[in-house]
Every structure is written in structure tokens, then in C-alpha cells.
Amino acid sequence: MSTSLVEAPVTNNFMTDKSAESDEIGNFIKFIKSDIVANINFEKTTKTANDNLSSSNSDSDNELTFDSKVTGNKGLADIFNRKLFLGYSDDRVYFSKTQKWIGHVTCINEQSFEAKLEDLTASGTNETVEFDFDDISEEDKPLIDIGATFYWSLGYSHENGQVSKKSIIRFQRILTWDEDCLNNAAERANRLSTNLNWE
């Protein structure tokens, strides 16, 4: 079996596995895809998977599962990163000890903005934060507006053997409404209008 390193985590193979362990790995891959991949220049490689990744289904050379003995008791995301990238190349980039939030802007000041944060790493209580505009990339600055949604990730970046503290703030890009969405909303409004009774 031969699989490229970068393709392995970004295909759906991990995510389609039904086990809880694979779901967690799948969520972590989504995390990597959503933010980190967008910001870090992954170098493609054609090296083959090592023993940590093994074929679970002989019918498909591309279908990979995470070796259960790898998971141990430590943070799955951490282990996933280390095991995935170690052994391929020393100049890989990966994150460890990540913390992630989704936020939306609640107030804009002269030099900063405030936001409400929902913790995506450990649910429970929410937080508020104030960012200086300088904390935001030039390409994201025009997206700062009341109600705008962003994702914020913190962690340790491991790059070329160097460890550094990283913070990534990415504003959600503009999605467009398609005709189906608008039709569904209109249909729902009509249905409610017909069926709701008012006193």
C-alpha cells in the first residue's frame, strides 16, 4: 500500500470510519483543514505511510485507519500530529496543544474590537475577548463588522524542529445564498403563515 502523507489526512477515509476514535480523528482533521492548512504551507511528499497507519480494508488501498495502539491515554490530537508527521520528514509543520474558539464580533472600538467566544475545545462557559486590529491579517481586516464570525486557534507550532507559540484568527468568508436556500426559506414562511394560529 502506498499513500501520500498529505493526502492521507485530508481524504475522507478517517472521517467515514464509524468508531468513536476515528470520529475524533476526523474532527481533528476538519480542524486542521479549516484553519491550519489554510495558513501553513504544507510541503507535499510522496513518502509512504509508516507502521502507524495501516490498511484496514484490503479492497481499498486508500482506506486508512489510525492504529489503536497509537492513541494511548494522552491527548489524541497531540498524538495524531506527532505520529502522523514524525518519521516522514523532519521539516514537517504541525501544531500541538491546540485551543480553538468560534467567535462573533459584538463591539467595534477605535483601535480594537470585542467578541463573544464559544469554546470549541472544552465546552461549558463562554468568554469575551478584545483584539487589537493589528492582531488581524490585512486580508481579514475588511471583514471585521458587528456580527461577523471568526475562528481563533492557539497552539504550539513545530516547524523545522523549532517550537513557537502561534495564534491564528480567520474570519469566515462570504458564502452565497443559492436559489434552493431562498426557496426553502420562502416555503417555510408560507407553511408557518398557513398553520400558525394567532390570538
Binding site: 496543544k97 467566544l117 463562554n126 475577548v129 456580527g147 492557539l154 414562511a189 400558525l196 394567532w198
Partner: protein
């Protein structure tokens, strides 16, 4: 297990959470209850009103007669669909819209947006409530100034009535116009829709509980226009027949919610005043406002003290990064406090018996 009120006893219980909203439970007699708004425990997502009624052994499916959603804001609506689901015979009331079709189009479009943007949970809650009401076929009671929402004959001598004091006719008209604009300027799904000054559309409530009266201020503020907000109530509330002895201070005791004429004209001297704080940003109420309330009555109660919050406790290495990069993070602390007030409805000379639970405190005592 908490003790239940007597059949002839009114109860007005305010539940606060610090930064996760507030809700009120009203016993209107004979084990019949009204729920105003909803808030949740952020760790369990469980509605606190249902937890409270469970402790009183109330059959919510049968005994909750009315649920009022004062306004469509996260801190007043979270968990309300679960509450409605459990309270199977309850009517639902929220601020009236003149043009219902237009209002429903707005709600349906916003639901699509809320599905994209997970933080917009108030829209999801509201839409779930509408679906439940369609399924049950129970009419929605539109709240507007001077309207009776519920009447209960507790005994030949005791009548309980629940009225809405707001929104005013002018506010409802303005809201129709605002919805038209919002639909026209409908933004991208990555942006949360913001309704201007939603607190003006809050449903303030007047209660006739036998011999006693109470006003629940929701988040209603003083408007520049005297036909809206508190001044409209002071000038035009025909249903208020006598002064109230209990007041839920509006909008976490903010300056915008304070109207001196309400205290002069609508409230008794030494009225019981209760409020919930807001632990976000600079927080509410500010100390000046607390002192002002304490100058008006000695019976000021708050569900918890204002907390100067720090970042959440988390992995030490993550804490190090937050500190190193100098981010100004504050946890919105969850502090559950309950202020329970009970009074016999058939005794005009009786006074409210106040019981504080959890983080609730007597503000007047704390300041003096």
C-alpha cells in the same frame, strides 16, 4: 426539595446566571404557573426554570399555563424551546407583529442564516418554538400594550391576571418597517443579523395577583419618543389600577432602563426590587445605579454580585500562550442565584417574603 406555595399564595421567582441570562417563574394560584423567558446552565444546557419546578414537584405538562418570551435575545431565550416542549398545555406569547407574513419571512430567512452560523442560537430556539406551536395547534398570544394575556379565577375572592404593557403600538409599527429593511439588506450568511435596539420591543408585564400588583421590566428601556418604552407605559397604561409592590428592574439595572417616573408613579414606597447582573464587558449594573436603587428602596436584591472575570482555567501551556501574547480574555462566569418572593393574594396588608438562594444577595445590606 423546595416547599410549594399555598394555593392562595403568589410567587415571583427570579433566576439569574451571571452572564447566561435570566428567567422568571410566577405562581398565580392553585398550582398554576407562568414562565417568563428562559436561561440555561451552560455546562448541562438544561433550562433552569424546569429544574426549579421539578424541585417543587410541579407537573409542568399540565400546570404551566403560559410562557412569555419577552424578546428574542440569547440571554432571555436560551432553552425556551425545551421549556415549551415540556409544558405541553402552555400558550406562548411574544411581541406582536402587525404584518405576520413579513415577520415569518424574516424568521425563516434568519433560520437559514443561523444554520450556517452556529452562534446564532436565539433564532434556532425561536424557530423551534414556532414548529411546536404549529404541531399543537395552540394559538400564539401576541403581546402589545394594555393586553390581557391570561386570567385565572383562583377562588371567588382571588383573581390573577397577567397583562403585557409593551411593546407600544408605535414600536410594533416601527418593527414592521425595520423587518422590511432587514429583508432588503439581507446580508451574507457569515454575518449575524442584528436588530436595532431590540430592547424597545421587550414585553414588560403587569401582574394583578389578588390584592397585590407587580411589574416585570424585561429589558425595556427609556425611549427618546414618549410613545415608546417606559414613558409610554407611565402615560398610557390604562390597565394599571394601583401601585405595585414588586418590580423586576429592567435590563440588568442599566441607566437606559431607569425611569424615575416609574418609581414615582407606578411603584409603592419600599417596593421589593430585584435584578440580575450582566457580567460581560464592563458589566451591569454600575455602582452608581445600585446606589440609586438603594436610595429608592431598602429592598434591593440581585441574583449574584458582579464578577471581575479572568480567563478560564485551562491547559497550563495554553494559558502561557494567552499570557505571552497578551490577549484580553474574560470568562463569562456562571453564577446561579434565585430570589423567591411570596405573598398571600387575599391579604392586602401582607408583605412579600423574600428568600435568597445560591449566589443571590441583599444589595442594600451589602452596601450599608
Amino acid at each position: 426539595m423546595l416547599d410549594s406555595p399555598n394555593y392562595n399564595e403568589a410567587e415571583i421567582t427570579l433566576i439569574g446566571t451571571g452572564g447566561y441570562g435570566e428567567a422568571i417563574l410566577i405562581h398565580i394560584g392553585n398550582n398554576n404557573w407562568v414562565i417568563v423567558d428562559s436561561c440555561i446552565d451552560p455546562r448541562t444546557k438544561s433550562p433552569l426554570t424546569l429544574e426549579y419546578l421539578k424541585e417543587l414537584n410541579v407537573d409542568v405538562a399540565k400546570n404551566v399555563k403560559l410562557i412569555i418570551c419577552t424578546h428574542w435575545h440569547d440571554d432571555h431565550i436560551l432553552g425556551i424551546s425545551k421549556v415549551l416542549e415540556a409544558c405541553k398545555s402552555a400558550k406562548l406569547s411574544f411581541a406582536k407583529a402587525h404584518d405576520k407574513d413579513k415577520f415569518l419571512r424574516f424568521v425563516a430567512f434568519d433560520l437559514d442564516k443561523a444554520r450556517v452560523e452556529r452562534a446564532n442560537s436565539s433564532t434556532l430556539e425561536f424557530n423551534r418554538c414556532l414548529d411546536i406551536m404549529v404541531e399543537r395547534g395552540i394559538p400564539i398570544v401576541g403581546a402589545v400594550e394594555n393586553r390581557v394575556l391570561l386570567t385565572l379565577n383562583v377562588s371567588p375572592a382571588i383573581v390573577s391576571k397577567v397583562f403585557s404593557l409593551s411593546p407600544s403600538d408605535l414600536t410594533v409599527e416601527k418593527f414592521d418597517h425595520e423587518i422590511s429593511q432587514l429583508i432588503t439588506q439581507y446580508g451574507p450568511p457569515s454575518k449575524k443579523m442584528t436588530i436595532n435596539s431590540p430592547n424597545a420591543k421587550s414585553v414588560a408585564i403587569f401582574l394583578k395577583l389578588g390584592e397585590h400588583r407587580a411589574i416585570l421590566g424585561a429589558d425595556l428601556e427609556v425611549s427618546r419618543d414618549s410613545q415608546e418604552g417606559w414613558m409610554n407605559i407611565v402615560n398610557n397604561a390604562q390597565i394599571i389600577d394601583r401601585k405595585s409592590s414588586l418590580f423586576k428592574i429592567p435590563h440588568h439595572g442599566s441607566k437606559n432602563g431607569y425611569c424615575k417616573k416609574v418609581w414615582d408613579v407606578l411603584l409603592k414606597e419600599d417596593t421589593v426590587a430585584k435584578l440580575t447582573p450582566w457580567n460581560k464587558g464592563n458589566g451591569l449594573p454600575d455602582p452608581d445605579m445600585l446606589n440609586r436603587y438603594c436610595s429608592l428602596t431598602e429592598k434591593v436584591f440581585m441574583t449574584s454580585a458582579h464578577i471581575n472575570s479572568k480567563p478560564k482555567s485551562r491547559d497550563r501551556q495554553i494559558e502561557k500562550i494567552i499570557k505571552k501574547l497578551n490577549y484580553r480574555l474574560q470568562e463569562i462566569k456562571y453564577k446561579k442565584g434565585i430570589i423567591r418572593c411570596r405573598i398571600p393574594m387575599d391579604d392586602a396588608n401582607s408583605e412579600w417574603q423574600v428568600k435568597l438562594m445560591g449566589s443571590a444577595l441583599n444589595v442594600f445590606s451589602a452596601l450599608h
